[in-house]
Symmetry: D4
Subunit: 254 residues, 8 copies
Amino acid sequence: MASGQTPIDSALERLRALPFENLEFATVDHHRQLRCGHPEVIFCQGKTLAQVVAIARRLAGGGAAVLATRTSVEQRQALLAEFSTAVVNELGRGVLIESGAARVPAETDLSGAPHVALVCAGTSDLPVAEEAALTLRAMGAPFIRLNDVGVSGLHRLLPHVERWQKACAVVAIAGLEGALPSVIGGLVACPVFAVPTSVGYGSSMGGVVAMLAMLNSCASNISVVNIDNGFGAAYSASLVCQQVRTARNAAREG
Amino acid sequence: MASGQTPIDSALERLRALPFENLEFATVDHHRQLRCGHPEVIFCQGKTLAQVVAIARRLAGGGAAVLATRTSVEQRQALLAEFSTAVVNELGRGVLIESGAARVPAETDLSGAPHVALVCAGTSDLPVAEEAALTLRAMGAPFIRLNDVGVSGLHRLLPHVERWQKACAVVAIAGLEGALPSVIGGLVACPVFAVPTSVGYGSSMGGVVAMLAMLNSCASNISVVNIDNGFGAAYSASLVCQQVRTARNAAREG
Amino acid sequence: MASGQTPIDSALERLRALPFENLEFATVDHHRQLRCGHPEVIFCQGKTLAQVVAIARRLAGGGAAVLATRTSVEQRQALLAEFSTAVVNELGRGVLIESGAARVPAETDLSGAPHVALVCAGTSDLPVAEEAALTLRAMGAPFIRLNDVGVSGLHRLLPHVERWQKACAVVAIAGLEGALPSVIGGLVACPVFAVPTSVGYGSSMGGVVAMLAMLNSCASNISVVNIDNGFGAAYSASLVCQQVRTARNAAREG
Amino acid sequence: MASGQTPIDSALERLRALPFENLEFATVDHHRQLRCGHPEVIFCQGKTLAQVVAIARRLAGGGAAVLATRTSVEQRQALLAEFSTAVVNELGRGVLIESGAARVPAETDLSGAPHVALVCAGTSDLPVAEEAALTLRAMGAPFIRLNDVGVSGLHRLLPHVERWQKACAVVAIAGLEGALPSVIGGLVACPVFAVPTSVGYGSSMGGVVAMLAMLNSCASNISVVNIDNGFGAAYSASLVCQQVRTARNAAREG
Amino acid sequence: MASGQTPIDSALERLRALPFENLEFATVDHHRQLRCGHPEVIFCQGKTLAQVVAIARRLAGGGAAVLATRTSVEQRQALLAEFSTAVVNELGRGVLIESGAARVPAETDLSGAPHVALVCAGTSDLPVAEEAALTLRAMGAPFIRLNDVGVSGLHRLLPHVERWQKACAVVAIAGLEGALPSVIGGLVACPVFAVPTSVGYGSSMGGVVAMLAMLNSCASNISVVNIDNGFGAAYSASLVCQQVRTARNAAREG
Amino acid sequence: MASGQTPIDSALERLRALPFENLEFATVDHHRQLRCGHPEVIFCQGKTLAQVVAIARRLAGGGAAVLATRTSVEQRQALLAEFSTAVVNELGRGVLIESGAARVPAETDLSGAPHVALVCAGTSDLPVAEEAALTLRAMGAPFIRLNDVGVSGLHRLLPHVERWQKACAVVAIAGLEGALPSVIGGLVACPVFAVPTSVGYGSSMGGVVAMLAMLNSCASNISVVNIDNGFGAAYSASLVCQQVRTARNAAREG
Amino acid sequence: MASGQTPIDSALERLRALPFENLEFATVDHHRQLRCGHPEVIFCQGKTLAQVVAIARRLAGGGAAVLATRTSVEQRQALLAEFSTAVVNELGRGVLIESGAARVPAETDLSGAPHVALVCAGTSDLPVAEEAALTLRAMGAPFIRLNDVGVSGLHRLLPHVERWQKACAVVAIAGLEGALPSVIGGLVACPVFAVPTSVGYGSSMGGVVAMLAMLNSCASNISVVNIDNGFGAAYSASLVCQQVRTARNAAREG
Amino acid sequence: MASGQTPIDSALERLRALPFENLEFATVDHHRQLRCGHPEVIFCQGKTLAQVVAIARRLAGGGAAVLATRTSVEQRQALLAEFSTAVVNELGRGVLIESGAARVPAETDLSGAPHVALVCAGTSDLPVAEEAALTLRAMGAPFIRLNDVGVSGLHRLLPHVERWQKACAVVAIAGLEGALPSVIGGLVACPVFAVPTSVGYGSSMGGVVAMLAMLNSCASNISVVNIDNGFGAAYSASLVCQQVRTARNAAREG
């Protein structure tokens, strides 16, 4: 296209250049990874076995890592049957089909690398934390973890403050009254991505109370994702992490 | 009481013995203080000046201390015009017409007496805290106070833990995400009466979020009153305090 | 530590002194009983059999009494298999692993001891009342009970008023419109811990209506816990009871 | 009516026979009184002065009694200017333009006539009770009243039970937790029309809590109208009353 | 008791005179029928088979008719095993154990007797209508019925208007938008007891929308019961009917 | 357009071709009328006088008719000062700056033209109906009107059915229980655009009840717009009307 | 009827002329098709197999096409057993019993005929889209489809804009945040009937969030049906389509 | 730090080292800036003039930059009277008292610096955008802006995509249906902090609908703050930006 392009040309060209492919039930797009720097994600809830496998096959065939979230037992089995090397996280209900890319460093090998802190208030919140953990792995983001540090037991939480303060983003997971992010938010100087969970009973409203409490946090650095959306918080946290790493590397190389 | 009485007689006699007096617009009951050991309380919201003054006059005439809550500026002025020695708390919107009974010891004179800890998360919650403070005074319950100790500033809250741990009940007041009672609840071994406040904006829903969060607290010793109901929490807390004092005194005298 | 300590030292020391032990999925804390004077409680909903048993074993090994609430049938069986002398309350879904401490006096042996009144509006609310009863036992709090005294049958409720008036705290359990605590609150001079239940249908919203009604009670001495949280109300009530007993004993000994 | 008519003719003829008249902004129907045996009612909220007066004039011109509800101060003044003999109830915000029909017997003259019991929980609920009272007068239904008998003061409520038990319908008005109808419902054997009021604060949600509590009453004979709808409850109660009176008179005359 | 009785004596005596009997799980009261003129009702949801049968046996032994509502299949079988002549309504989930009293006249034999009109909007609402029908039978109230007359099919509804207009109360049952009572209310001059049903999908919120719509009806003679509470509406309607019949009979005999 | 283009080119070109112009506070787009065949609409709520006038001036300068909705009194005055020939609808809070295009035929001149029926349940709903009427005028859609035909007065509604049945779309406006669209929907064979209004009190929730009732209508041809959104319903209705007219004209000319 | 007929006669006659037939559980009306120009629809949820088959048999016997929506597997089997040529849509849970009328042209044969665009945001929304598709077929409305075009993938949506812009109505189906109709609304000049779906998790509230988002759309031409109501939106869309076709044909023939 | 220290020492020391100072009504903490790298923020809603000025004076005296949010007109005047060089943003209701630190580069001088993209859907959302803009300035975060790019006008939004794609975080502000973040989220590879606004009417519920829609976004990189909380989103976004800048600088210098 000629030089007289208006600004809108530029945006449109980017969009136009994105090829996509039509399955009967889904429009798959191979360029998302290029655009976003991350694997394709399949939200599996409400999809049939056949649909999930077909989408995964097509995406993996395109060379991308594929993360399947909210899978059923049957969906996990079907994906494992198809992709024998896939990483399956039962508790977190996720499957990661890695594309042969470099492995994420183990938690004990952080060596000062930009990383995420993954904090979880109670044992019952672990499935959400596992989904977040698998997502961080899929995104290539190193992370440290701490479980079972509810706010009514400050003596369990406080010793870890110093470690958290080195993270470039925190994923904070809690059900019930959802107070954990507020307490953490006051102790760190990075964004805290808060995940309300559906853990609770009675008037917990399936996590709505925790979600609303987090949205009304008195801490300034809290933002919130949907109930039980460990994936989303980890995804955003890894985007922060990735930019810090990229900036560091670019500057070093530059 | 005669020996042939059935159990129901006993309960009914107690009720029957309670005289009451009909104003045109209210049924005033002079025996409540005897029954409950506390002054009569007038909830003034939605009552006219004339009604408030008439009820107060009748009650004070009966010898009781009278606590008027949720008064308007005009109601406070009208009560002060009628009862020149009344204690007026502007911020807490309350008026206390004391009956000449012994004064509550000042905060610095606790001397080991059973007392209440009154804790408030933010400056904006002060009106509710003041209502609670006036109620504690009306009930003759000594108390200690701490303001502005929100959970995102643990370094402000923690130094006071030891003092709270000596109280026989805590009144914990917070708006926004209402996390304060959960944190305090984990640090003390007495009942925490939690007061959600309407402080907040956006999705705080006028305090409903704080209230629900408190009801879903992960701490075991939390119970909750209505939004902005500093009176109710202080009333219940003083009932605890009073029983402890009575038990101590009775045993000493016994 | 030297005499120059700031106030914050004192609070922090208390926290620091609390050892804790890390299971893979939970951070167990042996000092809670010391801090709070009560057994450790395991909220079992959403935990696996292995997790529940492991936590219970660790805690009981520390010498504490252990109360497991909201257990499933399988969890109860697993705990009983591990702790053959555990007290199992099927209706209340609780298990109490007693630590050999002194037994709670039977209901008919109150002998003037400070005690709790446990009142329940309808037959369908009994599971919640049973959870409360087991909690009171675990906490060592004597109590009297009355079932099936809904407010539309005052003739059943009134004969018991006199007995209640001797309690130092009331646990009042009701579903549907949740009016019971308001009626009781007007008849006693101690704190009433109100428990809304999920009993109802149609617009009862799983107990939310009862909960909101209790929070808006016209009685002054009502505070509220979460829906079906018989444990929480009994826990707070027993904390009142315990303080009265302690005060009495201390004064006698002093 | 001719013999060949199908059933649908009959219903349609009744409808067809009803003349109506078009004002520019309202379709007024003179036959409602014939159809329903009651005066025309103008719900004035959201209508202009001119509209209210015009509708009232037209209806009164047709010979009907006219009840204007939820009037503003200005609307009341305008109606009084037009109908100098109108009965104005300031507190109840209503205006009654009587059509010269027989007066309702005074409360002390019930003489065994079928009547309504009008019961009100608190002083702040009086405006709603006044609207109900004016409606009962407009409908020609005798009634007895009792104010300020909240459920936390049973000793004030119980002495009146016997009187209520003679009424053929009860209108029970309460805000806050709305428990009054449940208590009354258990004591009488007639329909109780429950009116939740917007009296309350915090989580009362403008009367929604009282309304929901009433709808979930454990008493069998409760039905509920909209918040603050004293008119509606009184209207339905008077329809019961009227039928009993009609039955009695018809049988006597028959 | 002597002649100097205060008014409160009178009310209390009535209450005191009511004997009651304690089962382990329920306080049964034999005098309710005398007080209310109707059979005892057992709300069976959430009760065990043993509890339901025990309560029914005790009540029937006292000579009362017994209506069991919201029974499960098993509860119906257990009651039928115990009371072989009981009337079982499968669709309405009710069981009626009649006490040998006079039978209700069949629908075609109304002969001008005071009766109820039972109207139901859709086929899916029939279970609620059946519960209402069984209740009317238990209460001895004659009634006429009409099913499947939703407001979007006025041509099906209008032919029946004339019949309804002779009833002394209407029970109007509808789900979805709940508009039926408003349309009927404008066509009759008696109380309409509206029953919202849980029939619907999507945003119907299990009947809450229908319930709220009915509470906001533009008709003046509507009052509302809980969702799916066919029992309650029929109970109130029969109380109207009974009073009209009593008045007629009393006048005839007088 | 060249032959080598992919489908995405086509869509993008359409978008690219749309010029727009940046004010400091708004991005104005002159091509909307071309794209949609309708005037530009300014939603004025929350905009300053200066903003409203500036946007209107720019748009009118482009030759388009301009419809300003939800204007304040001051905004209406400012627009009238700027556009002296503007049509101002006080009740409907709208201003129409016509572009000199052909006038809409008066209501009595429909002459068989495709038109909209605009129906309004109550006098208090008139402001919304006026907004709809002005919108229809702005869109060039002929319409007939009927006011004050609530469902509790069927005799006022039924005579007009025949007229409505000739419309190609109905705009049905109602507050309170919002039943009007259901009744109309069953009587016509065209789309009914339902507008819930905020008219009501108590539990009407500012129109939410009417809105939800309409969404749960038992009629098949109802779709719903936001509360008080007379504009939106009229806009959609006029789009139907316009297509019918265009089809008729095209066929005639073709 | 004679010439002196009032307007109301006309409307009533139309209604009266509609014969209907009473099954025991449903009032079936054969004239709806004549009145509305469409097949009879049976909403099967909550109906028994016997009821569904009986209604279908009666209606099909009257010559109408019959569309059964929200059928269970068993209901589909029962209908297929009865009507062997019925069209069954498993995913859309619908059954169409065609009356031998002309077939709808296939999607690729639109040839400029007035048609509907059926757009669906995600794979999980397909059941709702299928219900809509079957409805369009039942109504004889040609349509084009596009699946899986969520708003976070604009590059998949934009290429189709041009095709949509030729439709006379759009059915836009989306769950989660329900943004699809807003984006489409800004790109077309016809009514968009928006269908929120229950697809989502956490705080999606079963589709309520999508529904409310659509009702608050910033686009002018959006109207909304109930959650998952693919039938309703398709029904309304086909009514638009039908009128355009009729107008075109009438003009051609005229 | 001595070698014998347990991990908890470390955390506690950090907290202990933080001095704080007690005003009568607030506990001010001078070290927050050190801890968080940002100025102290005063949330002014619900605070008196005297409180706001006193807190600001104390903080500014400590050398920190001070950002006052949600100020009233009077509070802004009072702050300006005290701090004559303060930056006042009327529309955004904020005041920034800068501490003499380096100025933020102007928007046109980004020169490749890590920056935030601030995007706003409509003119009415501008106050929230202004609050965000002032916060970004206070935090020293460069940013680019775009206003009035609602999703129903894609042609206005798309030309800017390329610019946004260079930002390290996006703040996306929208009211009504809140769809903007979903559309943007699909076009960028950085975290999007979504701000729902209270702009809307009818069922928008003061921004709750927009908030819930954003929480249910189909895009993976969205996290949400409270309604109208431009401050919070900008704060989190600037924390991302700051880390990227720090990493770049550190690497360059390292």
